[in-house]
């Protein structure tokens, strides 16, 4: 077995309905390691769904080779392809539940035709329904469920065959935070305990941060950036990635909101509104805390979105600094190599944001 459970080589997908020609995926090369949790992120229409549909050949690529688990899927006979597909569970953006089957029936479906006793099938499906918190709904039909409930059924269904790879196309988009957290924890557990490789499309950075090891950023059908999550977050290279990281951390919205309530003109002479950016501050010592003591400045945090990725602090903070501002700022600038960047928020910045 190759160490890459999924290998996409030179994949392009072109839709050609009538006159319009859409290059949904262009020249994508992607290797996903066995046991990885690989996030794919990108704006709407970037080609994420199309790309993952190529992984189990639901979407035949226009060009390129798809290798899963060492098998080049395009060369397989239909029966072998079906067998290969069973190793790849898929959770769809639009649920795709069968209306004619109960919740339990939907989860059991992938097991039909396999040599498992009816009792075992039911037990297995029920266990998964319990996992997603829908055990009480086993005998309900999908149309009676709310959107979130439907998605959880779809997740249970994708897991019931113990797939080696699990593809999730915005599986948590329709879920509330609690259910999302529960599902992500579940995915993480499956990954850790059973070694299931997970490919996860999402538009929620939080989801990527929470559980992904690697991430690829897509734009216009291409992967424009990829790597370990921490690296991509801390040192985004492509403009879109930066954009993504910034927008997702809500810094801009926060600055706008803060400058609406706290007028910059009302700040005292020894006060400044400063945006901090932490990218990969590796020490266990707090830089800001140290400096604030050193320069006797007061740091009042108005907004913070700081998190740890692979043991590194990453995130943003907006604070009002009161005291020896000049010295403080100079000291912070000197510590840039420790991953702290600052930016003064003045009228100009505020004006730039509102455009």
């Amino acid at each position: 077995m190759s160490e890459h459970i999924i290998e996409l080589a030179d994949i392009s997908v072109t839709f050609n309905d009538g006159q319009q020609k859409v290059n949904a995926v262009q020249d994508v090369n992607l290797q996903i390691d066995t046991g990885d949790i690989y996030g794919i992120i990108g704006y709407s229409g970037a080609g994420k769904s199309t790309l993952v549909r190529v992984i189990n050949l639901l979407q035949m690529p226009t060009t390129g080779r798809v290798t899963v688990n060492g098998q080049q899927l395009q060369t397989l006979a239909p029966a072998a392809l079906r067998q290969a597909r069973k190793q790849v569970g898929m959770i769809f953006q639009h649920f795709n539940l069968m209306q004619s089957r109960t919740v339990l029936g939907n989860v059991i479906y992938p097991l039909l035709g396999q040599k498992i006793s009816k009792r075992d099938r039911q037990a297995k499906a029920l266990a998964l329904l319990k996992l997603v918190g829908l055990a009480d709904y086993a005998d309900t039909y999908p149309n009676k469920l709310s959107g979130g409930q439907k998605q959880r059924v779809a997740i249970a269904r994708a897991l019931v065959t113990d797939p080696q790879v699990l593809i999730s196309d915005e599986a948590t988009s329709a879920l509330d935070p609690k259910t999302t957290a529960a599902i992500l924890a579940l995915l993480q557990r499956l990954n850790r305990e059973l070694g299931v490789t997970i490919v996860l499309i999402t538009h929620e950075m939080q989801v990527i941060k929470s559980i992904c090891h690697h991430v690829a950023v897509m734009e216009n059908g291409r992967i424009v950036e990829r790597g370990p999550v921490a690296q991509v977050f801390t040192a985004p290279k492509a403009p879109i990635t930066l954009d993504f990281v910034e927008t997702s951390t809500n810094v801009r919205a926060a600055i706008q909101r803060i400058t609406r309530t706290i007028k910059l003109s009302e700040l005292a002479a020894n006060q400044e509104l400063i945006a901090f950016k932490f990218i990969g501050q590796a020490t266990k010592k707090g830089v800001i805390s140290q400096l604030s003591q050193e320069f006797k400045v007061d740091v009042n945090i108005l907004f913070a979105n700081i998190d740890q990725i692979d043991g590194q602090n990453v995130g943003d903070m907006i604070a009002i600094i009161t005291g020896d501002i000049t010295g403080f700022n100079a000291a912070v600038a000197r510590r840039a190599d420790q991953g702290v960047h600052t930016r003064l928020i003045d009228e100009q910045v505020v004006k730039g944001l509102s455009d």
Binding site: N56, L58, P78, A79, R82, Q83, A84, R85, K86, V88, G89, M90, F92, H94, N96, L97, M98, Q99, S100, R101, Y109, P110, L112, G113, Y141, P142, N143, K144, R157, T161
Partner: protein, 223 residues
Amino acid sequence: MAALIPNVLQMKSEFIQATLETLYMTAFSAIIAGVLGLGLGVLLVVTQPHGILADQPSYQILDKLTNLLRSVPFIILLAVISPLTSYLVGTTVGTTASLVPLVFGIFPFYARQVQNALLDVDQGIVEAAQSMGSSPLAIIFRVYLKEGLPDLIRVSIVTVISLIGLTTMAGAIGAGGLGDIAISIGYARFENDVTLVAMVIILVLVFVVQIFGDWLVKRVSHD
């Protein structure tokens, strides 16, 4: 009573027999044509472009064949397939012999209806099944036929009612039935009461089919 339906009263046993004949023709040809039509309809759906077993040549042949069979007027169908009827049933006249032309008269129609019904099954669900490694056969039985069941029942109702209409023409080969009574006795002899009563019985059959079908649709629908 006697004044209202003078002729009918003298024909009680004929009416009973004719009703049984109609039931017999309808039931048996419905079952056989049901299987054939379902098969052909499913084949049309799976072989058509973007179908799960997309196959242009097969689809073209099946599609044309369906139209071909649908183009033949029933009375000519009777004649054209009488060798087959003779081979299968041993005779070309009588109620049982009528089953063969009835089946051929209705199953291509049913196939078309089945095709239209199955086209409405959500492609997303078919795709989900494919992603789970379901074989084409599994997709046909566990997805198409199961998800499409309410629609299939609806088109089956339409078809059975059309079939009841078709049995009224089977008198041409001595199959009897209510239509034959209505036409060759009631209509031809101006015994309007006979026509009326035969029609009412047919109507009752039609209603029973419709009501039973509607009930079934309700039972199997979950939306």
